[in-house]
């Protein structure tokens, strides 16, 4: 493998990690502040992608489509928070798992009912459709580069939001002591709705960004949801920093594992069984990574005990 190819694969790993971060950040925020495990987070990702595809279809504008994805996912998040999720904060995790599992069924089939069973069309804007040449002669798709940039900007924005703003202070306070901030006169139910909508919007944005280079279809959210779970388990639940580090680790492991493991096995095996065994192991690599992290740090890299 040439160094250029390796660098390109590292970029690919970064890009997939960044999109995972957008999902994981919302999940981990929602868990950190409200103590809620939300399986329906993948549905919000799907809603973002479908809203973007629909709006891009009507208007032809990708920017409007991204806006629509943010708005639709945030709105959906707000609605389910007020109608369903709100009733779950005092419940145990079991009820939360069940209720949000039910929401997945409702959202998935509801989307299929609205948009039909075939995947929708959503493409990257024409200006970003080609590759750019990076230093060293690496050809890299400009849209993927954009995703990396957007993701990093959002990461910076989130850290700033939590460190500097009033809402951020309330969020941090909520994470450490829920009763206390209510006692201090913060409108706790408004705070919860805002945090949930924020997490939902991030998921919707991720869905729209990724939907343009992948397939916009029912059920697209669940595989990403499970990866995002792995990310926050590795990073430590409730920690935005952990979500970022975990997402990058998972993205890189997944991408590089898929490329390098078959090569590695090829050194001492015949090519076809090296490919099969390498690919089989690669599909498990992130779970092995997770198990290793847990062996040494049961609460994840940045989790609190």
């Amino acid at each position: 493998m040439t160094p250029i190819l390796l660098i390109e694969q590292v970029l690919n790993g970064l890009q997939s990690g960044i999109t995972l971060f957008l999902m994981a950040a919302g999940l981990t925020l929602i868990f950190g502040v409200m103590g809620l495990i939300n399986l329906a987070h993948g549905s919000l990702y799907m809603i973002g992608a479908f809203a973007a595809a629909a709006v891009a279809g009507w208007t032809g504008s990708f920017v409007l489509a991204l806006g629509a994805a943010l708005a639709a996912a945030a709105a959906a998040g707000m609605i389910i928070e007020m109608v369903v999720i709100r009733r779950l904060y005092d419940r145990d995790h079991l009820d939360q798992v069940l209720a949000t599992f039910a929401l997945i069924l409702i959202f998935s089939e509801g989307t299929r009912w609205l948009f039909g069973s075939f995947p929708l069309y959503l493409d990257v804007p024409a200006a970003l459709s080609g590759p750019v040449t990076l230093p060293g002669g690496i050809l890299y798709p400009s849209y993927r580069l954009l995703i990396i940039v957007i993701g990093l900007l959002i990461a910076v924005g989130l850290f700033q939001l939590i460190a500097r703003t009033r809402i951020g202070i309330q969020i941090r306070a909520g994470e450490s002591d829920r009763e206390m901030i209510a006692a201090l006169g913060v409108d706790i139910s408004r705070l919860y709705t805002i945090v949930f909508a924020l997490g939902a919007a991030l998921a919707g944005l991720a869905g729209a960004l990724v939907g343009a280079i992948q397939s916009v279809q029912v059920g697209m959210g669940e595989p990403v949801l499970i990866l995002a779970f792995v990310v926050i388990v590795i990073g430590g639940i409730g920690s935005i920093k952990g979500a970022l580090v975990g997402a990058l680790l998972v993205g890189l492991t997944d991408t590089l594992g898929g490329v390098l493991l078959p090569l590695l096995f090829g050194l001492f095996m015949d090519p076809s069984s090296a490919t099969t065994i390498g690919s089989a192991l690669a599909s498990m690599s992130i779970y092995i990574l997770m198990a290793l992290v847990l062996l040494f740090r049961p609460t994840g890299l940045y989790g609190r005990a």
């Binding site: 868990f31 495990i37 369903v84 009733r87 995790h93 079991l94 009820d95 798992v97 069940l98 209720a99 599992f101 039910a102 929401l103 997945i104 069924l105 409702i106 998935s108 089939e109 509801g110 299929r112 009912w113 669940e222 499970i226 779970f229 792995v230 926050i232 388990v233 639940i237 099969t276 690919s279 089989a280 599909s283 498990m284 779970y287 092995i288 997770m290 198990a291 847990l294 062996l295 049961p298 609460t299 994840g300």
Partner: protein, 327 residues
């Protein structure tokens, strides 16, 4: 008698009575459907030990269900093709005998539960949920990409395996066999819950520190519960594979794990017969709703949501009332 006891008796009798009626009416398919419900109930009874009594919300029990299924698939596949499973160091043949298959299914899923449990139980709460989910996915991807036993295509077993003295292909006899196993496991679970082990496990759920100060290690209690729980679900997996005469990676899918939890919650958490009631209700809903609309899962989702939000305690809880203590 307490209302819950009466209800449990009714629930327990519902399956054989319904199967008997179906038999008399010649509706063989209904017997198959009831058998399916009984097997799902068994899988969920297994999970209920960890979840209801131990408070361990495992979203990865499909792993054990699948391992049980593949134990059956692999053994029967080798027996059916007359190829040994292994002949490097010593010769290991496949088998079509159900008791042997069950033992292998129980042993291998218990072993997997030991490994997964030892890692996952280092954590708790929401970490535990996510980690078990992730381990389940790991098995799922492995089963799909491992070509030796059919990969995603799964394995077809042309004839159901043998049980001494029974014609297992006869739906009624196979149902009787499954029901006998379910009854045995229910009886054992009932005893286990009242035995010192069950009481300690339950106490560990409510207050782990207190159990620790009495000198019982909650980790070991939970690990034992998790292993037994996985083994029972594995046995259900072997039976499920035999019911369908087919195994595939979908047995490992996380939706399967989700459905087991659904059975428990629909029926009533921590109740001995909760999973039985839940599995029966679910199979009934699936059977009645799927012809109504292509989007029938919306109804299932809505019902589930309403049960979680408003009918806490599930079916048994609503019917028997909450006068009974949770354990």
């Amino acid at each position: 008698m307490r209302r819950e006891t009466i209800l449990n008796t009714l629930l327990y009798l519902a399956m054989p009575v319904a199967a008997g009626l179906a038999f008399v009416m010649g509706e063989t398919f209904l017997i198959t459907l009831i058998t399916r419900a009984a097997i799902f109930a068994l899988a969920a009874v297994g999970l209920n030990l960890a979840l209801g009594l131990g408070g361990l919300v495992s979203l990865g029990h499909a792993a054990f269900f699948g391992i049980g299924g593949y134990a059956m698939g692999i053994l029967a596949h080798h027996a059916q093709t007359y190829t040994p499973i292994m002949d490097t160091w010593f010769v290991l043949e496949g088998t079509k005998s159900m008791p042997v298959i069950w033992l292998v299914a129980i042993a291998s899923s218990a072993l997997a539960a030991l490994a997964i449990g030892a890692l996952s139980l280092r954590t708790s709460g929401v970490y535990f949920i996510m980690i078990t989910l992730a381990f389940g996915q790991m098995f799922y991807y492995f089963a799909i990409s491992w070509p030796a036993y059919g990969g995603e295509d799964g394995l077809s077993i042309y004839v159901r395996n043998d049980f001494p003295g029974l014609n297992t292909l006869d739906p009624m006899q196979f149902f009787a066999l499954v029901f006998a196993i379910l009854s045995g496991v229910l009886w054992w679970m009932g005893r286990l819950a009242r035995a010192p082990f069950g009481l300690a496990l339950s106490a560990a759920r409510q207050n782990a520190e207190r159990v620790e100060t009495v000198g019982l290690g909650p980790f070991r209690l939970r690990l034992v519960a998790f292993v037994i729980s996985g083994a029972v679900t594995g046995l259900a997996g072997a039976l499920f594979a035999d019911l369908n005469r087919f195994v595939s990676p979908t047995m490992f899918s996380w939706q399967m794990s989700g459905e087991f939890i659904v059975f428990i919650v629909l029926g009533g958490v921590g109740r001995l017969f909760g999973p039985v009631a839940g599995a029966m209700l679910f199979v009934l809903l699936e059977h009645l709703l799927s012809p109504v609309s292509d989007f029938w899962l919306i109804y299932v989702g809505t019902i589930l949501l309403l049960v979680v939000l408003f009918a806490r305690g599930g079916l048994i809880g609503s019917l028997a009332g909450r006068e009974v203590a949770h354990d």
